[in-house]
């Protein structure tokens, strides 16, 4: 598929995703070994975007399972189509029960959810299990069979193995730790906030309409903001939105004194905004005294 990590990084760059050498190597190894890849890191650093870009690069259909508390097998793997089963029973009133009882629990009456869909798919797919840390531990344990063997067991049907091994990407915001069993089955990538240089490149590629000066100013400002003790640090997508917002306001460069009112694009908690506004005054006086 890819000859080297560099080759993978270049392909992802074409799709608008900039990846560093270390992450590219780990992702490359995960693809080479055909093992699931667990991507961890704070919200908004591009974990999901990496999976989406990879799906485009490898030209596979993306099947996404968004995890949440209470997610169970019926919503993630399969469910029986009860309406169809009832209909079948009504149509078969004259037929012997023994003849139809097996038929009721066949593949025809099954409703495929994302996990089963990825297993049964005849074409190669990329399965994205997003924000796995939001799901319960029971669900995590259930995934082990899928991650290790690329197969699932349905009591009425037996074990179903994948026809074409899907690329599996799991993402997590670290809100809870995973078991050793799950981690062992995956190759691990930790994505942190990008460096200043990388973020400048990301902004330049994602928002080409912005001036070079504005991009540099915004990225420098955001990297300073990320050092503050805030409840939620600004993500890359929020940086892009913030730069675009300044562009809409026809700012060619970033001045600390003119940011009031635009900070809500960057930060999402009133407490954080208040803290930053306070800090802006200090930064401005530092700038003046320089």
């Amino acid at each position: 598929m890819f000859t080297s990590p560099l080759n993978l990084a270049q392909a992802l760059e074409k799709e608008g995703y900039l990846i560093d050498e270390e992450t590219a190597t780990t992702l490359f190894l995960s693809l080479a070994l055909k093992k699931p890849c667990l991507i961890e890191g704070p919200a908004g650093v591009g974990k999901t975007q990496l999976a989406l870009a990879l799906a485009r690069v490898v030209n596979r259909r993306l099947i996404r399972l968004q995890c949440y508390e209470g997610l169970d097998i019926n919503k993630a793997l399969y469910d029986w189509n009860y309406a169809k089963q009832l209909l079948r029973l009504q149509l078969a009133k004259t037929v012997e029960w023994n003849e139809i009882k097996d038929d009721l629990y066949s593949e025809e009456f099954i409703l495929s959810r994302p996990l089963l869909e990825s297993i049964l798919s005849s074409e190669p797919v990329l399965l994205l299990i997003d924000e796995l840390d939001k799901s319960d531990e029971e669900f995590e344990s259930f995934l082990l069979e899928l991650l290790a063997e690329f197969q699932v067991s349905i009591p009425e049907l037996g074990t179903l193995s994948s026809k074409t091994k899907p690329i599996v990407i799991l993402t997590s915001n670290n809100s809870r730790d995973f078991s050793d069993a799950l981690r062992r089955r995956c190759i691990h990538i930790y994505l942190g906030y990008p460096s200043l240089e990388r973020e400048i490149s990301i902004l330049a590629s994602q928002a080409p309409e912005l001036s070079e000066q504005l991009i540099q100013d915004v990225c420098g400002f955001v990297s300073r903001v990320r050092k503050l003790p805030l409840q939620k640090l600004p993500s890359v997508s929020e940086t892009i939105d913030f730069a675009r917002a300044l562009n809409v306001l026809q700012k060619e460069e970033l001045n600390y004194g003119e940011l009031m009112g635009t900070l809500s694009v960057l930060l999402k908690y009133p407490k954080d905004i208040a803290k930053l506004e306070e800090r802006l005054k200090k930064w401005e006086s530092e700038k003046r005294s320089k």
Binding site: S4, L33, D177, H188, R224, E286
Partner: protein, 451 residues
């Protein structure tokens, strides 16, 4: 990569509590052979490490096994040069060094002198100096502090702190300083562990630095988060198998066993309906925490555990104490910050700052014990250091008689329980169980065993 080195690496990682499966080894070997042009370190780390917190262990082991072997050929000439640098630094009078007892005078308040670069640490601090510190029987943290004192770390950080407070440093420079400070500390820790491992000829020093086995008082912020995450996990496991037991009741579920048992007594002729209902095993939890300076870092984790477990108990009451007692039950459920602030404000206003267990038990027994049920479990978190005040064990005995169980969690090592100002031996007689609760591993044992 040399196969022997690879096996040593895997063995060392396993001994340092990093889980590495046979499949991982096979995958790593496959990749190392298939992609010889890729960095061996990157391949090995990508395949063998599954948790971000294990990266530092990997770095240390890699450094000891792979990098140190290649750099061992460095001649004695370089070693001599290192010794000279340290000797020169030792002789510089007027540096001070807060809290390390150098005794040469105050801290430099104006000049921000140069400091050893993190990259240069291994060159500028000679291994012989570290070996000397370790072989003198010092604890890891003491050796670490001694090295920091040697390189004038304390005067360096103090001068920067003051410069920042005075506005001589802009925030950007301050952050850069913070980063280099962290890198330096990390580098020195790694160096120290490397020397310790070599000297002891065992991976035990590395295991001691694992967050599960480190003292709760010396954890970094990220390690604290890990411990709290583990506590949540343990608490959740306990919550899904809560400690209920069945009791006789006038209403509730029909108790077939009891009916049959009674019916048998009457030859099965007559029977009377019996009922039963489920009842929480631990009806009430009362937590007493010593929050004097030596204990503050441990309290945080116990309170977090109690917060996670509160649904398991019918009633939870939390008291803090130093030399008198106060009820903080209403504060701890909000968030971490509010109860920390409460500790600070109350501790400063009301307390002398020195623990007095005897007075605290007396106050508890006379004022609070009447409100505590006989089914309650009392958990005491404290080091039992009574500052040479009377132990007043009779009050703990009174508490112990009144409640179902008294459990004592002590963060000190068991050998320290017999020190002169420590009353643990006296108090121990009146406790149902006493645990050493110094690390996350100890805390896990307590949760498993007692809860």
């Amino acid at each position: 990569m040399d196969g022997w080195k690879f096996i040593r690496l895997v063995q060392a990682m396993r001994q340092a509590s990093v889980s590495i499966s046979s499949q991982d080894i096979q995958d790593a070997q496959t990749c190392l052979q298939r992609y010889p042009y890729l960095s061996e370190k990157l391949i090995t780390r990508s395949i063998l490490i599954h948790r971000p917190q294990d990266y530092s262990i990997f770095e240390t082991v890699w450094r000891i096994i792979i990098e140190d072997l290649t750099s061992s050929e460095r001649g004695s000439e370089e070693n001599d040069r290192k010794e000279m640098i340290i000797e020169n630094q030792d002789s510089s009078i007027g540096i001070g060094g807060q809290g390390v007892g150098r005794g040469y005078g105050g801290i430099s308040l104006t000049q921000k002198g140069p400091i050893v670069d993190a990259v240069e640490v291994s060159r500028q601090i000679p291994a012989s100096r570290i070996e000397e510190l370790i072989s003198s029987g010092n604890q890891f943290e003491d050796c670490f502090k001694a090295i920091l004192a040697n390189i004038d770390y304390y005067s360096w950080i103090n001068s920067y702190d003051l410069a920042y407070q005075r506005g001589q440093l802009i925030e950007e420079e301050w952050y850069q300083h913070q980063n280099s400070r962290d890198c330096l500390l990390q580098e020195i820790r790694q160096l120290l562990i490397s020397v310790q491992v070599t000297q002891e000829n065992s991976w035990e020093p590395l295991v001691r630095q694992h967050w599960m086995f480190k003292s709760l008082s010396s954890l970094t912020e990220s390690e604290k988060a890990l411990v709290k995450s583990s506590i949540r996990k343990w608490a959740r496991k306990l919550a899904i198998r809560p400690g209920f037991h069945w009791v006789k009741s006038r209403q509730g579920t029909v108790d077939i066993t009891q009916i049959v048992r009674q019916s048998v007594q009457w030859n099965g002729v007559l029977f009377r309906l019996c009922f039963r209902r489920r009842k929480l095993r631990a009806a009430e939890l009362v937590v007493l925490c010593d929050i004097s300076n030596s204990m503050a870092s441990f309290v945080e984790f116990l309170i977090y555990l109690v917060t996670c477990l509160r649904d398991r108990f019918r009633k939870v009451r939390v008291f803090f104490f130093i030399d008198s007692i106060w009820d903080i039950t209403n504060f701890i459920w909000d968030d971490d910050q509010s109860f920390k602030q409460e500790i600070q404000s109350w501790g400063h206003k009301v307390s002398s700052g020195f623990s007095d267990y005897g007075a605290v038990f007396k106050e508890f027994a006379t004022k609070i014990l009447t409100d505590v049920t006989a089914r309650a479990t009392v958990v005491i978190l404290g080091d039992a250091k009574n500052n040479y005040r009377p132990a007043q064990t009779e009050y703990l005995a009174q508490i112990s008689e009144h409640v179902r169980k008294v459990v004592w969690l002590n963060p000190l090592d068991t050998v320290e329980w017999s020190e002169r100002d420590n009353q643990m031996k006296d108090y121990q007689k009146y406790c149902s169980k006493v645990y050493r609760c110094r690390s996350a591993n100890d805390l896990q044992k307590v949760v498993r065993d007692f809860l």
